[in-house]
């Protein structure tokens, strides 16, 4: 009796380690691609179909902010991931830290579908290191139940006293400063301390109206009517609209803030071939269409946009045109000036 108990225990131990061993061995298997991406950005069935087609397993890992992504890639010294999807100027930061590798475009036959207007941007001239996946803009969503339609057209109006405690504000420093600087009539990439100070003053005043700071839960807070107004990405808004039809969207007159998220391959990627296969798969127009339909972001894939149903193609929120993008300005790297932004942002966050 006692013997058998000990024996069972020993057997259990052996089993456990055998199990662990096999699982670890499975991880060494080269038939996979480790993707590090924003949460809710690629539909699960698109990933499944890739695996079905190629036999390459997709390990999908997510982040909530560019800063967190950057810290993690740095922490892992560019290893572990095969594909990372940073936004705009973070491509530049990763490149400077030598954390991502050059991309051989000749291996991406589907890159020809990409919109030239979204290529060759300042953060990565000639797209040496990055291939655009999706793009979008930061505009303003509001709940027409509480905010009359047409009464909100500008960033600067967020300071109206009646919105006190009814606002959600992005927790992304550059986005927050971007809209503040725009409201004050400056560039979102201003390096002028006096202008940055103006932006800071705007945000300090705005904080009185803010109920929540968040990047990822904006959609959720607007749907559940915890807040009335919030700066939100166009895709997130369209998804939220499906669950709460009172939500409206505007491109603020001072200029909405556009962004592009791009595929990059870290220097330490172990499955580079699989990463290329995955990017090329994602660039296929019919696959891009499925991603657009699920997450409602704008696509740089011109062919895919053409394949969308007419009502989607003509939706200016999904496919913003020159009118919507008037005054819009991409966020770019600002070098040393970032320290000043960070210092002010900390003060905004801890102000009472």
């Amino acid at each position: 009796m006692k013997h058998s108990r000990v024996a069972t225990f020993a057997l259990g131990l052996v089993l456990v380690f055998a199990l662990a061993g096999t699982c670890l061995a499975a991880q060494k298997d080269k038939g996979q691609v480790v993707v590090y991406n924003w949460s809710e950005y690629i539909p699960q069935d698109v990933l499944d179909d890739f695996t079905k087609e190629t036999g390459i397993k997709v390990v999908y890992s997510t982040f909530e902010s560019n800063e967190a992504m950057y810290a993690k890639v740095k922490l892992l010294r560019g290893k572990s991931y095969d594909l990372v999807v940073p936004s705009g100027y973070f491509v530049d930061l990763l490149r400077r830290d030598k954390l991502i590798q050059k991309i051989d475009k000749s291996r991406l036959s589907n890159a020809m579908h990409l919109d030239p207007k979204l290529m060759n941007l300042e953060f990565d001239p000639d797209n040496t290191y990055s291939i655009p996946y999706m793009w979008g803009v930061l505009g303003l969503a509001y709940n027409s139940k509480y905010v009359p339609k047409g009464s909100l057209t500008r960033w600067e109006q967020l300071l109206k006293p009646e919105y006190k405690g009814k606002l959600i504000l992005t927790d992304d420093l550059r986005d927050a400063f971007g809209l503040a600087l725009r409201a004050k009539g400056h560039s979102v990439n201003s390096k002028d301390p006096a202008q940055i100070k103006e932006g800071f003053d705007f945000l300090t005043r705005l904080k009185n109206s803010v109920r929540v700071f968040d990047v990822t839960a904006i959609k959720q807070a607007l749907i559940s009517e915890e807040v009335w107004i919030g700066p939100i990405w166009n895709g997130d808004y369209l998804v939220a609209r499906e669950e709460n039809e009172n939500l409206e969207y505007i491109f603020p007159e001072e200029g909405a803030i556009p962004w592009v998220d791009s595929f990059t391959i870290p220097v330490g990627a172990e499955n580079v071939d699989n990463a290329y296969a995955f990017i090329n798969y994602m660039l296929r127009p019919e696959i891009a269409v499925r991603c657009i339909k699920e997450y409602k972001y704008s696509s740089p894939n011109l062919k895919a946009v053409e394949m969308l149903p007419a009502e989607m193609q003509n939706n200016p929120i999904l496919v913003p045109g020159p009118k919507e993008l008037k005054n819009a300005e991409f966020i770019t790297g600002i070098g040393e000036a970032l320290d000043l932004y960070e210092k002010y942002w900390e003060q905004v966050k801890t102000a009472q």
Partner: protein, 324 residues
């Protein structure tokens, strides 16, 4: 007996003691020293820390920004601890005084919620206290309020979340020390004419003090570090210590500053541990050789920080520990 132990015995003895030391040294002491060391280093351009000794991280902790963070966190943690104590004490008392047949089951009921992921339970709170949550719907339905109460994204929500997650850590040590309490003392007090309040104040409270201190420790310290509760329920309007520390490592790339803030928490821990030691010394009145000697013995089953995994035997273990 041990002096005459044979080769096999001393080998086993050496193995047991050796493996424990190896573990404590390699995975507890070494990381703690590394933490303290990094808190004294400078942050590098591309490296997380560079070997330049400095105290500037600690100086930075005296900046108004960090002091606000610290004050907000400590205030919230103290409040949560107090609420847990106020709710938990009578609750643990009731369980400890229930019939022996029911006690294991009542304790099991405290532990069962832990089998569900704590994040899921935190999220469940949103479904309850949100603007369109169940509570607001019920109150609106009953006509008690005209507009939804704003409970989400407030200190109140964080506070509910922390109390909810940490209450069992208060209840279990309290239970163990209350159950251990000799009821004859209370009877004697009653015979001598002491009112129930008086005997509670002079007998029950002092004798269950170690349980109270242990419970408070197990609620206070984790509530400083649990970044996910304030992040999910609090709306990040006030930066709290847990988030602050996490951000230094996983967002801002300022490891030395994060390490310095963590060291502050370690110091708080040591202070509280010493308090616990003092309180149990006073109660036990036994002969103690050194600081913290017999610590775990006294902690036996009394303060399983997370009672979650306790499983079937946990109530018995706790009961036994209580009856030591």
């Amino acid at each position: 007996m041990r002096a005459s132990a044979g080769g096999g015995a001393s080998l086993f003895r050496a193995f047991s003691i050796g493996s424990t030391w190896l573990w404590l040294g390699a995975f507890a002491l070494l990381p703690t020293l590394a933490l303290l060391l990094v808190s004294l280093l400078d942050r590098g351009e591309t490296d997380f820390f560079i070997p330049v000794l400095t105290v500037k991280n600690y100086q930075e902790l005296f900046s108004p920004v960090f002091l606000t963070v610290l004050w907000d966190s400590v205030r919230l943690a103290i409040l949560s601890t107090l609420v847990c104590l106020l709710i938990g004490y009578p609750f643990a008392y009731r369980i400890a005084r229930a019939s022996a047949k029911w006690r294991p089951w009542l304790l099991l009921l405290v532990i069962i919620p832990f089998w569900t992921n704590s994040l899921i339970r935190t999220y469940a709170l949103i479904l309850i206290i949100g603007a369109q949550g169940m509570l607001n719907k019920a109150l609106l339905g009953l006509g008690l309020i005209a507009a939804p109460l704003e409970m989400m994204y407030t200190d109140f929500a964080v506070f509910i979340g922390l109390s909810y997650t940490l209450l069992p850590f208060m209840v279990l040590p309290l239970y163990a020390s209350i159950e251990k309490l000799d009821t004859r003392l209370l009877d004697a007090a009653k015979d001598l004419g002491a009112g129930s309040l008086r005997s509670f104040w002079h007998i029950t409270l002092p004798l269950t003090l170690p349980g109270i201190v242990a419970g408070c420790m197990l609620v206070f310290l984790p509530s400083l570090g649990m970044f996910y509760v304030p992040e999910i329920l609090g709306g990040a309007k006030n930066l709290l210590l847990g988030t602050f520390i996490k951000n230094q490592f996983l967002v801002a790339n300022n490891w030395p500053l994060g390490a310095a803030a963590s060291s502050v928490m370690t110091i708080l821990l040591v202070i509280m541990a010493a308090l616990y030691r003092l309180s149990s010394l006073r109660v036990a009145g036994r002969d103690h050789k050194g600081l913290l000697s017999g610590g775990p013995e006294e902690l036996n089953g009394r303060s399983p920080r997370r009672p979650s995994g306790a499983g079937p035997s946990m109530p018995q273990a706790a009961r036994k520990a209580g009856g030591l």
